[in-house]
Subunit: 130 residues, 2 copies
DNA sequence: CAGATATATGAACATCTGTTCATATATTCA
DNA sequence: TGAATATATGAACAGATGTTCATATATCTG
């Protein structure tokens, strides 16, 4: 017959080495689970923020806030290679951040995502007040 | 002596490689400059968003919204290695996203940046409504 | 049609990033 | 003091990312 004391000890031991099912602070963990994001949504959310996680893309977005612009002018304005801008714009188009309109051999880009634009502006506000 | 023809050719060449002063749509460029962000601020802003551009960090933040948690419990909760979590927490601490409090051999982490937390929640809202 | 030019694109390259593995440090407890 | 354990950390590695270079495509213009 195993004593209650021994059982408790074994249980404690088990908890320590099997953290996935036995947390150190069960109450806190339960509290944290209320706002916990699952893997899939975390990935989606991360991808959203990643769209804004590059200086060149941030500048492109800022340049397109008030007007449409062609690739060449964006490149010149930012002092970056036309190729680099074109690659970024393609990526941003795939992410539905921008859309384009062709006029002859010139392609004009405009912003195409209110959500991201909103996050962007929010970020700028923090930058200004920090 | 250089011919006028050669000079024109050189000038054209110069314009091509020095777009910065010769835009295709000067009016649009001027309009875009109102909201244009300079390189330094763009980098700062990008770095802010990059803090939220990883699924693991996003989940850590979501877990810490309602309570403090120790490293072990975060790792168990997310099903990620203790080492991976520790590395991320260190990075997040450097970025002032979280702070820690030590209790014996256990270290509790909490959120430490209202701005980022705000951006995070804004992102979640968009995720839910999109 | 031929030359000029605005944009797109693929390959190569360097850099950055996140995880893993092994191990160090620090603290508790018997 | 020694075993157990919570956390931290350095090195190595794989994968992602942004730029550059060369070149293709498409359109205008004379």
């Amino acid at each position: 017959m195993i004593s209650t004391e021994s059982l408790n000890k074994l249980e404690t031991e088990f908890k320590r080495t099997n953290c996935e099912e036995n947390f150190i602070n069960e109450d806190k963990v339960r509290e944290s689970e209320k706002a916990l994001i699952d893997g899939l949504n975390a990935t989606k959310l991360a991808r959203t923020f990643q769209a804004l996680a590059d200086p060149t893309r941030v500048r492109i977005i800022s340049a397109l806030i008030n007007t449409e612009l062609c690739v060449c002018d964006i490149a010149a304005l930012l002092g970056v290679t036309q190729s680099a801008i074109s690659h970024q714009l393609r990526q941003m188009k795939d992410l539905r951040l921008v859309k384009s309109r062709k006029e002859g051999r010139i392609v004009f880009y405009t912003l195409d995502d209110e959500h991201i634009c909103d996050l962007f502006k929010r970020g700028v506000e923090h930058l200004e007040h920090g």
